[in-house]
Symmetry: C2
Subunit: 220 residues, 2 copies
């Protein structure tokens, strides 16, 4: 019953809500995130509110209801399970998965998702290190840190990223930074915050503050 458009609105509201602590999500930021015009967003928000998927007060933004949140998490679960499948089974690269998972996430079959989950061995994290919600909408906690928060001579393992754009993921591949890559922080520039790292086979590497801000790690 939920349409592709509805899926995208709910998912987008969920992500915007969690990325910033602030409660309501505003029409314009949603329009921005979805690549639509604000007038279109207003119309859809009113219809989603009529379905009790979110609370809508004119001019005051929206918040998901528990029902809306569960719908959003169901879509996110499907998205991340498919991403895992694409990388682990079909040998997709990090930057190729997102666009395809964005199509597969709308396939509506509980049986399919259940069998897929079993086939994949009930993974807890997607290829970007994002947690995969379970069928009840529970999101496992990860406790990952931003690489940019470490200080020399911290050692860590890359566990994920906070940014999905193909250009960024491509950038990481060129730098030879992947999930599972072990690294040590050697030095941080006082001037621009860039980090000197030593990765896997004692190879030195310098990355920008901007890049370090998007990388998640497990500290060792």
């Amino acid at each position: 019953m939920p349409s592709i458009s509805e899926d995208h609105y709910l998912k987008s509201i969920y992500h915007l809500t969690s990325r910033k602590k602030r409660k309501p999500v505003f029409t314009n930021e949603l329009a921005q995130a979805l690549g639509l015009r604000p007038a279109s967003v207003t119309g859809m928000l009113q219809r989603l509110a009529a379905q009790r998927l979110l609370h809508y007060r004119p001019y005051q933004g929206v918040q998901l209801t528990p029902k809306g949140r569960l719908r959003a998490l169901a879509v996110i679960r499907k998205h991340r399970l498919w991403e895992y499948f694409l990388v682990e089974k079909l040998k997709f690269r990090w930057h190729e998965v997102h666009a395809v998972a964005d199509l597969l996430e709308h396939v509506d079959s509980d049986l399919l998702i259940h069998r897929l989950d079993a086939y994949l061995g009930y993974p807890k994290l997607d290829p970007h290190g994002d947690p995969i919600p379970d069928e009840n909408g529970h999101v496992p906690a990860t406790g990952f840190l931003l690489l940019s928060s470490l200080r020399p001579p911290a050692q860590a393992i890359i566990t994920g990223v906070t940014e999905q754009h193909p250009a960024f993921l491509h950038h990481l591949e060129r730098l030879n930074l992947h999930r599972g890559t072990r690294l040590q922080v050697r030095q941080i520039s006082e001037y621009d915050g860039s980090m000197d790292l030593l990765i896997d086979p004692s190879q030195p590497l310098t990355i920008s503050r901007q890049t370090a801000d998007q990388i998640l790690v497990n500290s060792l």
Copy 2:
């Protein structure tokens, strides 16, 4: 660019055309096959004709153009590859696959289908014994016979079915008839055409003419 509705029309016209030798497909049979009203079908046929996907002459039925035929075969290819995936990897049963493949067949990504095909080992037949068209729209010939065309004491192996309804596939499962089942025709009733068979571990079984008409075999 092709919508789910367009996919279904093209696929349905293709199947109706090949199942009967007759050239054009008529509005009412399409409406019947798609579960829609004739008036709706007329409207869509006119729009597909405007896209040069089929030839439409009012009151005279339609025929796919080469372009329309390729579109139909691309959808059928996706459908059958997904069916193969569902059965071989996700352990779906014969009767469960069709509904789910009918959703997955609309996911529009050449990269995905290409990688899926490779992952599955470039299968030539789907779980119902139907040939999987290649990326150029070539449909491999199978040369299977109808079980009902055999005469005692012919021996054969079940290779597929010509009917996809879950009720029929369920019926076959209850009879213990699967793809790969070896059988011998013992006797055919003069009265109602029912067939006495001997299957795998010399187990006798009688099936109706109607059932035998929907089973494809390779004669030994």
